[in-house]
Structures are given as C-alpha cells and as structure tokens.
C-alpha cells in the first residue's frame, strides 16, 4: 500500500513539475482554488455515480448468467453441453463496441419485430452489453474453477451417497469459489474500465463528461490526465477490497 501511495504521489509531483513549464500545461481548468476549476472538477467526478452503477449491475448480471451458462458444461449428455460451448464461443467473439451498437440501436428494432415495444436508454444499453460480453468470460472462469477441484472430491461425494447436484452444491462449489474469486475480481476491474465505451452512446459517465469538458475548455491533456486518475482510484479501491476478501477466506481455510 505504501509503495503505491508513494508511486501515486510522485507521479502527481512530476505532472505538477511539468506544468511549471510555460505554454504546455494549463492546470487552471481543474484548479480547485478557482470557481471555474472547482465547477469543472465537480462536473467530472459526478460521473463516478453512473460508472459505478453500470459496473456493479453488469458484474452481478454477468455472474448470474455466467454460472447458468457454466453448469451445463458438466452435464454427462453432450447435447446439454452444447449450448454452453455455443454461447461462450459466440459471445466471446463479438467485440464490445459493435455489441454495444447492436444492443443500443438494433435490439429495440428486433424486439419491436417480435411485438414487444421497448426503448433501451444508454444506461441499460451499457449494462446489458457489458453483462453479456463479460458473461462468456465469467462462465469460463466458473468452469475452470470447478474443474480445478480434484476428481477424488466428486468420487468421495458419490460414495457417501450424494447425487451429482448435491455433490456440486455441498462439495465442489464451496471449494471452487476460492479459486474463482481472484479471476472474477479481475473481470470486475475489466468491466469498470470497459464501461468507458458507454460514452459513445451518450451515457454521461466519467469518460463522457471528460469528453464534453474537453470540447468546451480545449485542455485535453489535463482533463484526460484527471480522467485516468479517476479510473486509477476506482480500480485501486476494488483491488484493496478483493485482497481483504481473499485474506479473510485464507484465514478461514487455516482455521
């Protein structure tokens, strides 16, 4: 933690030093001591609300979809396993931005064709796209985590009379969760960063606000630097939370 704090502070100091060179930097746009700068900063950081809301909703949905997609991968019948493969291969192959356009502009048309009239606003367009796009990866994480539990565990569960479903619930999944958590946290960080794409369909989250301010203030360097720092703070907080969670689970194991 201390190392990272130092790294963060020194990079800030470096930037400030750069800004001393005349004509290159203009920190005044986001100088909290001036009225204009303070207004700008408040405008930018209000984007946290949407970015966090979109990311959390998308992550929760992605975990639910991911688990639902992953479980059939363990069916004995290969026709039951097939939907899992198709879903993962298909969704994983679609780049995020085209999928976002498709969901935002295309999905309402498809739904209207089916007689359902919905309009998708930028917020839900972003949530749906991020959740779908990420769920393919979440499903693979679940599958890998479950497969990493030694085969002997399922065999032992079988010899004490547990059905496959009960073995999964009481023996396999509790052990898989520990292996799943770190990569899942990684995916959450990925979602937070990819939520920046929501700006192109007009969602006023962190990136969109920065873009809008650049258009009026003509100071891209300073504003985008702050934007990056905003994401950095968000991601560092998430990483700290995940490490805390892992430590807690690790302590649980050795008890």
């Amino acid at each position: 933690m201390t190392f990272r704090t130092i790294a963060l502070l020194s990079s800030l100091l470096l930037l400030t030093a750069c800004s001393a060179a005349p004509g290159t930097w203009g920190w005044y746009v986001i100088d909290p001591t001036t009225d204009n700068g303070w207004t700008n900063i408040r405008f930018l950081i209000r984007g946290f609300t949407s970015t966090i809301q979109i990311s959390v909703l998308a992550a929760v949905a992605s975990i639910i979809i991911g688990l639902l997609v992953a479980l059939p991968a363990f069916a004995q019948n290969r026709w039951l396993r097939l939907p899992n493969r198709i879903y993962v291969e298909l969704i994983r192959a679609i780049p995020l931005l085209p999928m976002l356009f498709w969901v935002f502009y295309g999905l309402p048309v498809v739904m209207r064709g089916m007689g359902i009239s919905i309009s998708i606003d930028p917020f839900w367009g972003a949530v749906i796209t991020l959740a779908l796009s990420d769920s393919a990866f979440t499903a693979e994480i679940f599958r890998a985590g479950i497969q990493a539990v030694p085969r002997g565990q399922a065999e032992a569960a079988q010899t004490i009379g547990l059905s496959r479903a009960k073995a999964m619930r009481y023996v396999i999944l509790p052990q898989a969760v520990r292996r799943i958590l770190p990569p899942l946290a990684n995916q959450f960080i990925y979602i937070v960063k990819m939520s920046a794409f929501a700006s192109v369909i007009g969602m006023q989250e962190l990136t969109r606000r920065a873009n809008e301010l650049v258009v009026t203030e003509y100071r891209p360097l300073e504003i985008y630097t702050l934007l990056i720092l905003e994401y950095l703070v968000l991601v560092l907080i998430i990483s700290a939370g995940v490490r805390w969670l892992e430590r807690r689970m690790g302590a649980d194991e050795s008890r």
Binding site: G152, T159, L162, V171
Partner: protein, 233 residues
C-alpha cells in the same frame, strides 16, 4: 460379480472377472500396478462403468442399492478440505440419508471413537496427520452404515509409522464382522485378517485362495514371483 470385462477404448483392463464375496468375508486383492485391482474396487463402488457382465449386491443388481451401501476408502483420503472433521462425517447421513443434524452428529461421534480420534472432531482435515486423515475417511464411510467396505490401497500414501494405526482400525473393523474387500500390499495384514487373497495380473484373477496356503505355496509362477519381490525388502 460374474463375467465382468472392461475396456478403456481398445485396451482391456478387466478380462472376464468372476468373484463372489460372502457376507462377513474379508478379501484382499494384490497384484502389480496396472493389473486392474483398483478398477475392480472402483467398479464395485460405482465410480466406473463396465461393458460386459453383471454386478450384484445381496442378490440385487447393484444400481438399485441404497446410497452408501458400499463404503469406499481411497488411497488419497479425499476428505472434504472445506469442512471440519465432524461435518465431513455428517454430510452423507444428513444430505443423502435424511438424518437430523443431531442424529448424524451422534453417529459421527460414535464412529470417531471407533477410529480412536474423538478429540479431532472440530479440526480441518489439513490439520491432521495422514494416518488420522485416513481414519477419518474410514469413519466417514462407516457413518453411512455400509454393508460392504472397499479399500483402495488405504496405506500406500502414508508414512511407515502411520500405516500401523490405520491397519489396526481396519483389523478392528474386520473383527466386528464387516464385509471387506481390500486392495493392499500389506501382506502381514492379509495374513492376519484375510479369509482369501486374490492375486491379479493383466486384468485377470490369476489365483485366489486362503492366505496361509498362498504364501507358503503359490500355485502360479507369476504370484510366486510377485510375492518374492514384495516380501524381500
């Protein structure tokens, strides 16, 4: 089991195995690695499928048995690492047999006494020695009150000083009249406990008979050679 054969793709692991074990009998199976002895036990436990032949338990086709009728002890223990010793023991009785928590715990404590580690109930498997873990695994199988206990090289993963404590528990069990099929290379155990010893090689039962006679005068050359190898060291 009668006329049981099994293939992994083109490779035949079991060739026409026929074997009857009476209630209360103790059978030891030995043989070189790859001879199919573990496969026999795993088939009986329902962990693998065979292609030819039938397996019956007390006159019934094996698949209609009550859960836990056949107890299994693995070489690598396979305890559930995320559960306490007590929870390892009660999981089957509660979730598969429908016992209440209290009934299951009482039963678990009875069997922990039998394997002589009542004081370890609240620990995690990782905190126990190998010998203790294997005794917990035996107790876990016993909690399902099985009619037949299978052992697949139960002492092969243990340090020498821990083998004795596990064998003692198994001998106790044998003395109580449990029906047992045990894959092991512990010839001392076989001599003391087994009613019959079967020698397997290349997927066949080469020889089966009383241990005393088998050790003194093995009928087949392959068994003689095998005994010579493992008794020498």
């Amino acid at each position: 089991m009668t006329g049981v054969s099994k293939w992994y793709d083109d490779f035949q692991v079991l060739r026409d195995i026929s074997l009857t074990v009476e209630v209360g009998e103790k059978l030891v199976i030995c043989g070189p690695s790859g001879s199919g002895k573990s496969t026999v036990v795993r088939l009986l436990a329902g962990l693998e499928a065979h292609q030819e032949g039938d397996i019956h338990l007390q006159g019934e086709v094996k698949n209609v048995q009550r859960p836990g009728d056949i107890g299994m002890v693995f070489q690598s223990f396979n305890l559930f690492p995320h559960l306490s010793v007590l929870d390892n023991l009660t999981l089957g009785p509660v979730k598969a047999l429908g016992l209440s928590r209290a009934q299951a715990e009482e039963r678990a404590r009875t069997y922990l006494d039998r394997v002589r580690i009542p004081e370890q109930a609240d620990k995690r498997p990782a905190q126990l020695s190998g010998g203790q873990q294997q005794r917990v695994a035996i107790a876990r199988a016993l909690c399902m009150e099985p009619k037949l206990m299978l052992f697949d090289e139960p002492t092969s993963a243990l340090d020498p000083e821990m083998i004795a404590e596990v064998l003692e528990v198994m001998e106790d069990l044998a003395a109580d009249g449990m029906t047992m099929i045990c894959v092991t290379h512990e010839m001392g155990f076989a001599r003391r406990v087994a009613d019959r010893i079967a020698f397997m090689d290349a997927g066949e039962i080469v020889e089966i008979g009383a241990p005393e006679q088998a050790f003194k005068a093995p009928k087949s050359e392959r068994f003689a050679l095998f005994l010579d190898k493992i008794l020498k060291h």
